[in-house]
C-alpha cells in the first residue's frame, strides 16, 4: 500500500477510536439516567415523599425521613463547613503568599483527595468516639463538613485570584482598610465563583454515602435531633438495594431518582446560570483540576 494512504488510514482509524472512547464513556451516564428515571418514577407519589421508611415494605411507606435527613445533614454541614472554607480561601488568596499560606494550601489540597471513607473514620474518631456523641446527625454533618471545607476554600481562592489586582490597589489607594477591601471589594467581585463552589460542594456532599454509614448511621424514624442517628437518601439506597422485597427495592430506586435529581440539577443549574461568564467557568475548571474532580 502507498505510504500516504497508509498514514491517512491510520489517522482516520485513530480519530475514530478516540471518538469511540467518548461514546463508550457516555453510555453508562445515559444508561444510568434512563434506568433511574424509568425504574424510580413509578415509586414517586405524595405519600412516598412524605411518609417514613418503616422497613417492612408495607403500604404507605416512603422516604420522607430520608429526604429530611439529607436536608438536615447538608444544612448543618454547610453551617460548619462554609464559613471555615470561605475564611481559609480568603486567607490563602489574600494573605497566603508566604510559607504559612503555601503549607495551608498544600494540606488543604491533600485533604481534598482523601478517600471519603477515611473522612468518615476521622469524624467517627472525633465525634462518635472522643466526644461520645454516638452515631448521630451531628457526627454525619461533621464528616460532610470536612469534605466540604477544601472544596469551598479552593473555589474561593481561585475566585478571589480572578479579581484583578487593580481593584485591590484602587481600594487601598482610597484609604480603605485592607480587611474592608477584602470583604467589600474582593469578596463581592468574586462572589459568583464562590457561590458556584458552594453549590457544587453541596451537590457533592448530598450524594456521599460511606462517611454517613460510619457516622450518621441510619434510622427509620423521623429524627431531627443532633444527637441521634438519622436517615439519608444515599443510605436508604444502600440498605435496600439488595432487598428481596420488591417494595423495598422500589424504595431504593425512588430514593435514587430524588437524589440524582438534586445532584444533577445543581450541577447543570450552576453550569447554565452561573457559568456563563468566562471567569467563573475558569474557576470551576481550576478547582476541579486541583481537586482532581473528586466530585
Amino acid at each position: 500500500m502507498n505510504i500516504f494512504a497508509y498514514r491517512r488510514m491510520k489517522n482516520q482509524l485513530a480519530s475514530f477510536a478516540a471518538l469511540a472512547c467518548v461514546v463508550l464513556a457516555l453510555i453508562p451516564l445515559v444508561y444510568i439516567l434512563v434506568m433511574v428515571v424509568k425504574t424510580g418514577a413509578p415509586a414517586i407519589s405524595w405519600e412516598f415523599l412524605t411518609s417514613r421508611t418503616v422497613g417492612t415494605g408495607g403500604p404507605g411507606e416512603g422516604i420522607g425521613n430520608a429526604i429530611l435527613g439529607t436536608l438536615l445533614l447538608v444544612f448543618y454541614a454547610t453551617l460548619m463547613g462554609l464559613p471555615v472554607g470561605l475564611l481559609t480561601g480568603i486567607y490563602v488568596s489574600e494573605y497566603g503568599n508566604n510559607k504559612v499560606g503555601y503549607t495551608g494550601r498544600f494540606f488543604n489540597d491533600l485533604l481534598a483527595n482523601f478517600p471519603s471513607i477515611v473522612i468518615g473514620l476521622l469524624a467517627y474518631a472525633l465525634v462518635v468516639n472522643f466526644l461520645r456523641f454516638g452515631f448521630s446527625l451531628f457526627a454525619g454533618s461533621v464528616a460532610l463538613a470536612i469534605i466540604m471545607i477544601p472544596i469551598v476554600s479552593n473555589t474561593t481562592e481561585e475566585a478571589l485570584r480572578m479579581v484583578p489586582n487593580s481593584l485591590r490597589e484602587g481600594a487601598l489607594a482610597l484609604g480603605v482598610p485592607r480587611w474592608k477591601t477584602v470583604l467589600k471589594v474582593i469578596l463581592v467581585n468574586g462572589k459568583g465563583g464562590v457561590i458556584t463552589g458552594v453549590l457544587l460542594s453541596v451537590a457533592r456532599i448530598a450524594g456521599e454515602t460511606a462517611p454517613l454509614l460510619l457516622t450518621a448511621f441510619y434510622s427509620s424514624y423521623w429524627s431531627s435531633s443532633l444527637g441521634e442517628p438519622v436517615a439519608s437518601l444515599p443510605l436508604t439506597i444502600f440498605r435496600n438495594f439488595n432487598s428481596p422485597s420488591k417494595e423495598l427495592l422500589q424504595q431504593a430506586w425512588g430514593a435514587a431518582l430524588i437524589l440524582i435529581l438534586i445532584v444533577l440539577s445543581i450541577n447543570i443549574g450552576v453550569r447554565l446560570f452561573l457559568g456563563n461568564r468566562s471567569g467563573k467557568k475558569k474557576v470551576v475548571k481550576n478547582w476541579k483540576r486541583r481537586l482532581s474532580l473528586r466530585t
Partner: protein, 311 residues
C-alpha cells in the same frame, strides 16, 4: 498613612482569618492521630503481622489485612487497565480532535459522570451491569482465557471483575479531564512544528502532544488510581464480599474500603480497632499515591493563575 486603629483592625482580621481557617486544617490532620489511637489495640496486638494475616475472624479475634489489600490492588488494577486507554482516548478527542463548538459541552457531560453519587453507580451496576457482564462479557473471556488462573469458576457477576469495571467507569472522568488539561497546556508551537513537517493529526498528537504531556498524563492516571483505591460504595455493592484471597476475577472478594463498610455496624472492640487500622492503611496508601500524582502533574502544570492574589 494608616491610622493606628485601622492597622490594628487589619492585623486582627488577618490573624482571625488565619486562626479559623488553619486551625481547622490542623484539627482535621490531628484527627489522624486520634485514628491511630483508636487503632492502637489492633496495632499492639498484631504488629506487622497484620499485613500478612490471611484471616478475618471476629470469633477468634484474629485479624489480618492481606486479603483486603490484595482485593484493593486487584480491583484497582482492573480499573486502571480498562479506564486508562479509554480516558486517554477521550482526552485526545476533547483536546485535539473535537470541533471547537462541541468541546465545552462534551467536557461538561464527561464531567457529569463524576457527579453521579457512587451509591447510584452501585445500584445501577447491580441491576444493569452485573447481568450484562455475567451473561456476555465473562463467558467471552472464559472462552479463551479460561485456562489462566484469572478466569476460573462460574460467571455470576458479583465478583472482582464487575467491581473493577464499575471502578473503571468511575475513574474515567478524573483521568480524562486531568489529561485533557495537561494536553491543553502543550504549547501550540509544538503542534505547528509537527504539522509543518507534514505529520497527520494522529502523528502530531503522538509526537508533539502525548510525548510532551506524558508526565501529566501519567500523573492523571495515578490520581485515578488514588480514587479507585479509596472508592467504597459501588465496590461494596458489587464485589460479593468474601474474605479470602483468590486470583480468579470471577470469585467474590473484598477491598479494604468494602470491608469497613460491610462490618462497621456490628464491629466492636478489637474488630473495630482492626477496621480503623485498615482505614489508616488506606489513608497512607492514598496519601502516597496523591503526593506522587501531584509531583507528576505539577511538573507540567506549573501555571498558577497569574492575575490577582494578595498584594
Amino acid at each position: 498613612m494608616f491610622s493606628w486603629r485601622s492597622s490594628g483592625a487589619d492585623k486582627f482580621f488577618e490573624y482571625g482569618v488565619m486562626a479559623i481557617g488553619l486551625s481547622t486544617l490542623v484539627l482535621v490532620w490531628g484527627l489522624v492521630l486520634m485514628m491511630v489511637n483508636d487503632a492502637s489495640p489492633s496495632i499492639d496486638r498484631f504488629g506487622l503481622g497484620f499485613f500478612i494475616g490471611m484471616q478475618w475472624n471476629p470469633n477468634t479475634e484474629i485479624f489480618g489485612a492481606l486479603p483486603f489489600i490484595f482485593g484493593t490492588l486487584l480491583t484497582s488494577g482492573i480499573a486502571i487497565l480498562i479506564g486508562v486507554p479509554l480516558s486517554i482516548g477521550i482526552a485526545v478527542y476533547l483536546s485535539e480532535l473535537a470541533p471547537p463548538w462541541v468541546r465545552q459541552p462534551l467536557s461538561f457531560v464527561v464531567e457529569l459522570l463524576a457527579a453521579v453519587p457512587s451509591v447510584i453507580y452501585g445500584l445501577w451496576a447491580m441491576y444493569a451491569l452485573r447481568p450484562f457482564i455475567a451473561q456476555s462479557v465473562e463467558p467471552f473471556f472464559m472462552s479463551f482465557l479460561g485456562w489462566t488462573p484469572l478466569f476460573q469458576g462460574n460467571a455470576v457477576g458479583l465478583d472482582k471483575f464487575t467491581a473493577g469495571v464499575i471502578l473503571a467507569i468511575m475513574i474515567i472522568p478524573t483521568i480524562a479531564s486531568v489529561s485533557k488539561e495537561t494536553m491543553r497546556a502543550v504549547p501550540d508551537s509544538q503542534r505547528e512544528a509537527a504539522l509543518s513537517l507534514g505529520a497527520t493529526r494522529y502523528e502530531t498528537t503522538r509526537i508533539a502532544v502525548l510525548s510532551y504531556a506524558r508526565s501529566g498524563i501519567f500523573g492523571a492516571c495515578i490520581l485515578g488510581l488514588g480514587r479507585a483505591l479509596g472508592e467504597t460504595m459501588a465496590v461494596t455493592m458489587t464485589i460479593g464480599n468474601a474474605n479470602s484471597i483468590s486470583w480468579s476475577l470471577l470469585d467474590p472478594g473484598q477491598t479494604m474500603s468494602s470491608l469497613i463498610a460491610n462490618n462497621w455496624g456490628e464491629a466492636q472492640g478489637l474488630q473495630l480497632s482492626a477496621l480503623i487500622e485498615i482505614g489508616l492503611v488506606l489513608f497512607i496508601v492514598a496519601l502516597i499515591v496523591n503526593l506522587f500524582a501531584r509531583l507528576m502533574v505539577g511538573r507540567i502544570m506549573r501555571a498558577v493563575p497569574a492575575t490577582g492574589g494578595g498584594l
